[in-house]
Amino acid sequence: MATITLDSVRKVYAGNVEAVKGVSIDIQDGEFIVLVGPSGCGKSTLLRMVAGLEDITTGEVKIGERVVNNVDPADRDIAMVFQNYALYPHMSVYNNLAYGLKNRGMAKGEIDRRVKEAARILEIGEYLDRKPRALSGGQRQRVAMGRAIVREPAAFLFDEPLSNLDAKLRVQMRVEIKRLQKSLGTTSVYVTHDQLEAMTLADRLVVLNKGNIEQIGAPIEVYDRPASTFVASFIGSPAMNLLPVSANGSGLQLEGGEGLSGPNTYGRDKYTVGIRPEHLRVVDAGSSHPDAGLSLDLVVNVLEPVGAESFVYASFAKGGPEMVIRVSNHARYQPGEKLQLIADAQDVHFFDGGNGKRI
């Protein structure tokens, strides 16, 4: 168990590719941190610097009280789970788990105890004699987890460990990883590009974009108060509706479209207005809602039922971005139908029109 501290960590690859641009995070003991961001944003690079698999260009990584910049991966007291599992193909499951312990010169009895214990927790006891190739994807994933657990490390590092599993298994393993992490209480850093996985696993999310941190916070915090348009559009599915607008007298003017009723009291020329699909409510056409944060008149394009709920895709009469609205699964809107929608003031997000930061 340990804290992990990243202080202005930068990574510049050969050819002047700056993959990570000065990232600082304080990870608490026992915390489950998820690094999330689109592909290529530097998540893996950051994780690999913590693991010691990649040199740190500048900055400092501390595990516990120790600066580990120049410490070998094996001596950092971490364990890593890889996307493709990286099991040793020629070794039995037992030896896959035991290999790292043997290399540390641990006594046979202790190795055996730990391997059996991990196998019990992960329910892979009956496969201990098999080679990885004789296992299914989910079982391999468990073995990879087992290899991390037996080490009883200060921290677990996960690099997209569920990406190679099918959807159903992914959900199942996600729950299991969370449960396991909580019961072991081991500090964990988990990398994923899947925002749903990130939301469900994290104690705190770190949203990365092009090597920079966009936001750090509890999943709900990040969801409710995204720090930028990037976070707003990345976290949540379907994504938050973002409307580029400019100040217009006392109201707002949708770019390439109509005027909107809404506040423009932040003293800027350009804004981005954000509303989550579930915060738009359909109201009777022509009714008046003076205290609503935003009121929109839209035309239905398509209704998309997904089971428990449905999504309406609709556009403005005069152009502008297509909007998504979450509605009850009983709603029966027809294409071409006109809808009036309102959102409460506290559900309307305002971002700077230039740098996209929350106002």
């Binding site: 698999l53 991966p73 094996a74 364990a79 890593m80 890889f82 099991l87 193909p89 290899r147």
Partner: protein, 280 residues
């Protein structure tokens, strides 16, 4: 699937015939006495001299010095074949390991230099090689016979391609598991290369076994002669004096064929296992 036709069998049988007939003929001929062969050529029947011929070939000391018999030559050939194959595998695996996994100056240049030597067979560099071996006083030694031959561009190339196909994560997992460069090589890379090693071993053993020119240059002492040389020797020594011992030459040729066949048969099952099971 297409039905197998009669003509397919004919073609296959013809193929088998062309492959096997010379060997069978050599074997049958080796069971007769020299006089019969001299009078009526290659024999198509099983003669009565089988045991006698093979015993003679294996145990009678021949040559000028009368200190080399078939068994000694067989031993020499085995030493050359095994030393050649094992040496080549060790050297080329280590070379490929360095090239793929270590960053050192001019690594890729090194590789291409090694690769280019593929274009230069032994025969091209045989005189300088001889000069060096002779200078080092290694003429008429097993090491002189083997060592100069084991640097192998072919082996290095195959192992390099194989190592490149091993996923990087395996190395990283091993690093986190506390395996240093040597442990990673021994515990992970070598076992993973098993089928590759088997394949190269077969090829190199047969190649080493069949070496003729190099042993002829390096070994002048008959106690170091290999089987392949010995066959020639039998013919040379007796020619002129009396009837050439064709029967014994044939018997020796058959004997010379056996070990490579055995090696291929043994390692073939590995080979096929490696092709069928995907390991990575």
């Amino acid at each position: 699937m297409k039905r197998i036709k009669f003509s397919d069998h004919v073609i296959l049988l013809a193929g088998v015939f062309f492959m096997v007939a010379p060997v069978a003929l050599a074997f049958l001929t080796s069971t007769h006495d020299a006089v019969t062969i001299y009078k009526s050529g290659m024999q198509f029947t099983f003669g009565d001299q089988f045991l006698q011929n093979y015993e003679t070939v294996l145990t009678r000391a021949g040559g000028f010095t009368k200190e080399v018999d078939g068994l000694v030559m067989l031993k020499n050939s085995l030493i050359l074949g095994l030393g050649f194959a094992i040496g080549k595998i060790i050297i080329s695996m280590l070379a490929a390991y360095a090239i793929v996994y270590f960053r050192f100056p001019f690594a890729s240049l090194c590789f291409w230099v090694i690769f280019c030597t593929l274009l230069l067979p032994l025969e091209v560099r045989i005189l300088p090689s001889y000069e060096i071996v002779q200078g080092l006083g290694m003429v008429n030694t097993y090491s002189g016979l083997i060592v100069p031959l084991i640097a192998s561009a072919t082996g290095t190339f195959f192992f390099r391609q194989f190592f490149l196909s091993v996923p990087d994560e395996l190395l990283e997992a091993a690093r986190i598991d506390g395996a240093g460069p040597w442990k990673f090589f021994i515990d992970i890379l070598v076992p993973l290369s098993k089928t590759m090693i088997a394949a190269i071993f077969i090829i190199m053993f047969v190649y080493g076994w069949n070496q003729y020119l190099w042993p002829t240059l390096i070994t002048t002492e008959e106690s170091l002669f290999t089987l392949v040389r010995g066959i020639k020797q039998i013919m040379q020594v007796w020619i002129g004096a009396q009837i050439p011992d064709f029967n014994e030459a044939m018997a020796l040729a058959i004997l010379a064929m056996l070990p490579p066949v055995v090696i291929v048969v043994i390692f073939q099952s590995w080979f096929i296992k490696g092709l069928v099971e995907s390991d990575k």
